[in-house]
Symmetry: C2
Subunit: 124 residues, 2 copies
């Protein structure tokens, strides 16, 4: 059992460095990427690396938290593209060799809180 | 070290059952709830239980995945309120007694994929 936390850290540091060889090295050949919010899949290492390599914008990421157990992990990232800042939550599973087998991303956006809970909350 | 995975499972099953005594039993007295998308905090068990108890709508949840390690965990939920369906991603940390000390929720919404990646993706 390899350490999936370390693999996830390499995945993100390689993405930030645009080191697509190191990035591909973390992935299973039949990796499946899923974006539930847009209902998109990308199948296979080659297409998935290309998707990331071609992704537009001068994006930069910072890992806020990683939670890992044998076979699965989650990361919480801060993402910035110019002045736009976002969160990215990513679920990973690994194959038996410790390569990343599935990647599932969520990109939550800011919204205004509904009325009626001001007696309980503080804004920050 | 108590099992935070089990505590998180109890937290969600108690919420679904509206068993607010069992729900409160998973929480540290000084639990802090954070919603980064709205920049809201709720401080303390009493207010946080009340926030959940008062939350409007006939909501129902299903746990899709839990990832846990000593001291922290993440859950991925499917949430339904009538015909509206949502994802909820929640990061947890525990105190030394194994009670939930922080809860951070993300609620990602569906969106249309940007043009230019149709050569790589499948929709589902």
């Amino acid at each position: 059992m390899t350490d999936l936390r370390k693999t996830v850290e390499t995945f993100w540091s390689a993405a930030e460095a645009r080191d697509w060889t190191a990035f591909a090295g973390t992935l299973a050949e039949d990796v499946v990427y899923t974006l539930p919010q847009t209902r998109e899949h990308i199948r296979g290492r080659e297409k998935y690396v290309r998707f990331n390599r071609e992704y537009p914008g001068d994006w930069h990421l910072r890992v806020e938290r990683v939670v890992a157990e044998p076979g699965q992990a989650v990361s919480w990232l801060h993402f910035a593209v110019g002045l736009q800042e976002m969160y990215c939550i990513t679920f990973f599973t690994a194959d038996r060799e410790g390569h990343i087998a599935t990647v599932t991303d969520f990109w939550p956006e800011p919204y205004e809180p509904p009325a009626g809970r001001e007696h309980l909350v503080e804004r920050y």
